[in-house]
C-alpha cells in the first residue's frame, strides 16, 4: 500500500508519509508558490510538480530524490498562430495560443520509458519522450476543426484534465475536455474521434444537448484491471461505460447529489468507484454543510454515503477534480479541499482520519 502522498496547493507542494501506522506531513517544496498539479511516475519513481507562477507563467519541475531537490524541466509551447489569426470559442471569447496551465500529467506505459503526456489549458495536448525535458504538440488534435467548438468550463479557456493511456496498448489514449467531450486516438495521436453517446448536457441549448463538444466531463478514469470499464463525473451527473468508452450510461438518483468533480475507480474491480458530491452550479458546496464520500460497489446501481471521521456540520469544503486519489492497492484514499483540509482512509473510505486542516487551498493529491 502507498506510504507517500503529495498534496498540491495554492502555496506549495506538501508531502506526507505513513509512519508507525499513521500519516504525517513531513516536508514542503515550493513554499509560497502555486503548485497546480503533481505526479509520481510509477515507472521510475520520479516526482513532477507543475507550477503556475501567474506573472512568470507555468513551469514544470522534476525530482529524482523524492522531493529533496528539484530540477526545472521543459514546458509545452503552443505554435505561433498564422499572421492575423484571432481564434475565438463558440461564445466569441478569445482563445490564446499560449500555455496557460498544466491540467493533467500522465505517464506512458512501462514499455514506453520516458513518455509523458500533458493536457493543458487552453486545450493543447503535448507529449514528451525525455521525461519532460522537451515537449511536442499533438498537432492533429490542436488543428482538428472540432477543437474550435470547445469552450471554457472549469477554466476560462478549454482544458484537457484527464488522460487515460490504455494499459493494453500505449498507442490508444483517451482524453476528456472541459468543455469539449471525450476524444479517442488509436494511433498515438495521429487521428481522433469523439465518443460521447449517452451523455447529455442540460446546460446547453436544446439542439446541442447531445453534441460531443457540449459535454463537460469533470473527470474521467479507466479501470486498470478491467480497461473496458470507465467512469466519468460530468457536470450533468455520473456516467459509466463498459464498452471501452464508446458509449455511456447515466447513473441517476444519487444522494445527496449527482454533481461533483472527482472520481476514482478501484484498480481491479470496475464496479467500485468513489465520488465526492456537491451542490452544483453557482453554489458549489457540500450538501447540508456535511463532507461525505459516495461509494458504489455494484457499478452504480447503489451508493453508500461515507462520512465516519469527516466533518458533519458547518463544513464547506469543495474538492477539485484532481484532489481525490486512490492508491494502487485500492485500499488507501485521500482527498483535499479548497479550505485546506486533507483526509485519508485506509479502508476504502469506511473510516477517515484528518491529515491537515489548515493547508492552503488544495488543487490535487496523489499517492506514490
Amino acid at each position: 500500500m502507498a506510504d507517500q502522498l503529495l498534496v498540491s496547493t495554492r502555496k506549495g507542494l506538501f508531502s506526507a508519509r505513513r509512519k508507525g501506522g499513521s500519516w504525517e506531513l513531513e516536508a514542503v517544496s515550493f513554499l509560497g508558490d502555486n503548485v497546480t498539479l503533481s505526479m509520481i511516475d510509477p515507472r521510475d519513481g520520479a516526482w513532477y510538480a507543475a507550477l503556475d507562477h501567474g506573472h512568470f507563467g507555468a513551469k514544470l519541475h522534476r525530482s529524482r530524490d523524492r522531493g529533496a531537490t528539484w530540477q526545472e524541466v521543459g514546458v509545452p509551447a503552443y505554435p505561433t498562430p498564422p499572421e492575423g489569426h484571432l481564434e475565438k470559442d463558440f461564445l466569441g471569447r478569445e482563445i490564446p495560443w499560449r500555455l496557460i496551465r498544466f491540467w493533467s500529467l500522465a505517464p506512458g506505459l512501462a514499455s514506453q520509458p520516458g513518455l509523458l503526456w500533458a493536457g493543458t489549458v487552453p486545450g493543447g495536448l503535448f507529449w514528451s519522450e525525455d521525461c519532460g525535458d522537451s515537449w511536442h504538440l499533438v498537432e492533429a488534435l490542436w488543428h482538428m476543426p472540432e477543437r474550435r467548438k470547445w469552450a471554457g468550463g472549469g477554466a476560462d479557456a478549454p482544458g484537457i484534465h484527464s488522460i487515460c493511456v490504455d494499459p493494453r496498448d500505449g498507442n490508444r489514449v483517451v482524453i476528456a475536455v472541459s468543455s469539449g467531450g471525450v476524444w479517442h486516438t488509436q494511433d498515438l495521436g495521429k487521428t481522433w474521434s469523439a465518443h460521447t453517446e449517452g451523455m447529455r448536457a442540460d446546460y446547453a441549448p436544446p439542439e446541442l444537448v447531445s453534441a460531443p463538444e457540449s459535454q463537460d466531463p469533470h473527470r474521467m478514469v479507466q479501470c486498470p484491471g478491467a480497461p473496458d470499464s470507465w467512469w466519468i463525473q460530468h457536470h450533468n451527473g455520473i456516467f459509466r461505460s463498459t464498452d471501452n468508452a464508446l458509449s455511456w450510461t447515466e447513473i441517476v438518483d444519487v444522494r445527496p447529489s449527482v454533481f461533483g468533480f472527482p472520481v476514482v475507480v478501484h484498480p481491479r474491480d470496475p464496479d467500485t468507484a468513489w465520488f465526492i458530491p456537491a451542490i452544483k452550479d453557482e453554489r458549489r458546496i457540500p450538501a447540508e454543510g456535511q463532507v461525505v464520500v459516495n461509494r458504489t460497489r455494484d457499478g452504480g446501481r447503489t451508493f453508500e454515503t461515507l462520512r465516519r471521521g469527516l466533518p458533519q456540520a458547518w463544513a464547506y469544503d469543495l474538492v477539485y477534480r484532481h484532489a481525490l486519489d486512490l492508491d494502487a492497492s485500492g485500499e488507501h484514499l485521500a482527498f483535499g479541499s479548497t479550505t485546506g483540509s486533507v483526509w485519508i482512509s485506509e479502508n476504502q473510505g469506511d473510516d477517515w482520519s484528518t491529515l491537515a486542516e489548515h493547508l492552503p487551498p488544495v488543487h490535487a493529491v496523489c499517492f506514490a
Binding site: 501567474g54 506573472h55 512568470f56 507563467g57 526545472e72 514546458v75 509551447a77 505561433t80 495560443w97 499560449r98
Partner: protein
C-alpha cells in the same frame, strides 16, 4: 551599454543579477541578458517571444510600447527594468 535589472521576485526563482549588455532595442538587450541567464527567458517572455501579460518592462522609467515585438529603442546608457505588472491587488 544598456543595463538590465530584474525584479527581486523573479530572482527568487532563477538567478539573474543586474547586468550590462549590448543592444539598441529592448529585444536586443533582453536577448543579450538571456544569453547570460538562459532560464530567465521563459519567465519574462511567452513561447512566441512576447512580453508575458503580467510583466512590465521600463526603459529609463518609461513603460515600453511594443510588448510583442520589443522594438522600443534603448539609449547607449539606458536602464532597462523588468518587473511584474501590478495585478491582483
Amino acid at each position: 551599454m544598456p543595463s538590465v535589472a530584474f525584479t527581486r521576485n523573479l530572482q527568487r526563482h532563477v538567478a539573474c543579477p543586474p547586468c550590462v549588455v549590448a543592444g539598441g532595442t529592448v529585444r536586443e538587450s533582453l536577448e543579450a541578458a538571456f544569453g547570460l541567464y538562459p532560464q530567465v527567458r521563459s519567465y519574462v517572455l511567452d513561447e512566441h517571444g512576447a512580453l508575458r501579460f503580467h510583466m512590465a518592462v521600463y526603459v529609463d522609467g518609461v513603460p515600453i510600447a511594443d510588448r510583442r515585438g520589443l522594438s522600443d529603442p534603448v539609449p547607449d546608457s539606458g536602464e532597462i527594468y523588468v518587473m511584474q505588472a501590478l495585478s491582483g491587488g
